[in-house]
Symmetry: C2
Subunit: 380 residues, 2 copies
């Protein structure tokens, strides 16, 4: 299918120097397992996203699929369509093919291998966020050499001798640290953390984001580690070290830390290491009120915000300072009602990072850390 | 220093078929970082331990150093002494050199590398529980080929494509599961789990132990995984799979799961994955009442039994059914007092797996799972 439904003139004409990239997200764009693609379409510092491949949503605008409104990035039906489209709009094939799905197994299927090899033979470098490393695979390595393209394994952890143990030096970090945790995986923690960081910066507060997953790193996060690829022994230490790097590298007013999974999750527990490694004084909790448990991982009910707050505050010496809503399956009036209910029942601010003014996120942080506002006045 | 202080006649003369092994634990035997050696001296199914190398404790009996009473295994001052001693008592060099320390960094120093190479040139295979894998090191690999010896990297995780994700299939396991957790690392969880399992088996209850650390695996545990070497993404799944393997392989009455670190620990949090992956109905909590926080990892106070129980029972749908005491730095009367205090304050049984009759461990389990006793009567 071609991208004829989106006129090229509607797309952003960019003179930026970022390399172009197409995101592969077959049958998953806009869905949970497409979260890497969903995130990159919303925010990408490293790559200029020229299209998304997903035959199910082909012909639509990527922003519309995500419910964010049109963003001029077309969804196309296959790699060949994406190649043709990129040549038509940019004059050349995309520089990179980003594998934009996060399947549970973390491994490529036979069909997916063939598509990746096709992208390489078309001159694209590969950005791979899976647990399977293309640089460990003889077929991909020889294809990369043959076609002169790069294989970037985003999740590859540091060499074992370079992994860092937890030291307690996190106590050296004098600025506030706020972790954005959630009640589930793929619930919008990274998106809220990204929007929150930008809102604080726009407000004149020097905030820096520390990423903990592959999507944040592909998006261009300068500080972070793909925690779920790290051997458990080193998870708290690598988290601590990433925060120390951000602190010493940026001298920020506040550090925002992206959460992973949920502390209540049956399997995705790296938020436990995030809490211990970054010792956040505060937590913002992301929750999808309309999400229903699907039985995956044997889970039949979703946690409540109340139970997650109790668990987080028992597990770590921290305080949940606000709730952010993921509005999936919710009408606007339902979002408003949910925000009002959380605020009245919990006595802390609530908002939706995507559908409500981002000032509310700044207010949430300033209510907990008024010194950030004072600091702002002093430095202005 | 020679082993002249321990007459060879006092040692166990064994006709068993286990390969002999010397344990290297320089300056750490009996201490926290020597826990692999300490455990192997107490219990080893795979290897027959012929001596321990530690110049600090050289000349003593290994059991005496551990406070367990004499066990006929000498502590010697250096590798050459251990070689001479093994030749004198067994007629040959030990078949294996076990690196019996668990340094925080997980890596070999230059001196340690030289000693390992010396052991290999003396004909010993190497059993390595560190995070650094000898099979990835060109110098060790070529030395192994030259001398015709094996390099066994106990902590090497399965190949990435063989790592297992959590599925929820743990719900298939119909027998009770009891995790032995603790309030700290190196506090005796594995020892208590081992003693508990043996006591249950001696009582006619088919108990099987699932190991979660390198020491348990070197000791010969048939089921288990060195969890801290597993990428975080797969920790819950590998834990679940090890319990499923034990359940389907042994059809046991009860499964005992070795804990790691502590749920309250600043860095060693794999007990979080143990709780979610094995879904234990019950927890036995190991605690060292006389242990003082040493500031490592920035920790200045030890958790109490009460706070750890609250954390465990908030984090997981389980119940702490008993407390076991690590009697380090305690006189016998103090152990008795601590046991009485825990029982009266917490209302659950308490004992010391090493210094008190093991029947008390069996009673602790039967108080929580009376059906195990009924089952015993039915099958008798």
């Amino acid at each position: 299918m071609s991208s004829a439904t989106i006129p090229p003139a509607a797309r952003t004409v960019s003179t930026d120097l970022r390399p172009t990239a197409v995101i592969y997200c077959e049958a998953n764009f806009g869905l949970t397992d497409g979260k890497t693609a969903n995130g990159l379409v919303r925010h990408s510092e490293t790559y200029r996203i020229v299209s998304v491949i997903d035959s199910v949503e082909a012909g639509r605008d990527a922003g519309d699929v995500l419910g964010d409104g049109s963003n001029g990035i077309p969804v196309l039906g296959c790699l060949d369509d994406a190649l043709l489209d990129a040549v038509a709009t940019t004059g050349t094939a995309p520089a990179f093919f980003i594998f934009g799905m996060a399947p549970t197994s973390g491994m490529l299927s036979a069909d997916e291998r063939a598509i990746v090899l096709h992208a390489m033979s078309s001159g694209m470098g590969i950005v791979n966020g899976l647990h399977e490393f293309l640089n460990d695979d003889a077929e991909f390595v020889s294809a990369a050499a043959l076609h002169g393209v790069d294989l970037i394994d985003v999740r590859r952890p540091p060499r074992k001798q370079d992994l860092r143990m937890f030291t307690g030096r996190i106590a050296e970090v004098t600025c506030p640290r706020i972790a954005v945790l959630g009640t589930d995986g793929a619930v919008g923690k990274r998106t809220t953390a990204t929007v929150l960081t930008k809102a604080l910066v726009d407000h004149g507060i020097r905030a820096v984001l520390v990423s903990t997953g592959q999507t944040g790193l592909i998006q261009g996060g300068r500080y972070g580690v793909a925690l779920d690829a790290i051997p458990a022994q080193y998870c708290a230490g690598e988290m601590e070290a990433a925060v120390l790097d951000a602190f010493h590298g940026e001298d920020p007013d506040v550090i925002i830390i992206e959460g992973q999974g949920a502390l209540s999750h049956p399997a995705y527990l790296t938020s436990a290491y995030i809490l211990r490694g970054s010792l956040p004084q505060a937590v913002v909790l992301q929750h999808a009120p309309a999400r229903v448990a699907d039985g995956q991982f044997g889970r039949v009910t979703m946690p409540t915000v109340e139970s997650e707050i109790r668990l987080i505050e028992t597990f770590a010496d921290t305080k949940v300072i606000g709730v952010t809503v993921n509005h999936e399956h919710m009408a606007d009036a339902e979002i408003t009602a949910a925000i009002a209910l959380f605020e009245s029942e919990l006595g802390i601010p609530a908002t939706d990072a995507l559908s409500r003014p981002t000032d509310r996120l700044v207010e949430m942080v300033l209510a907990a850390f008024p010194q950030l506002d004072t600091q702002l006045l002093v430095t202005m």
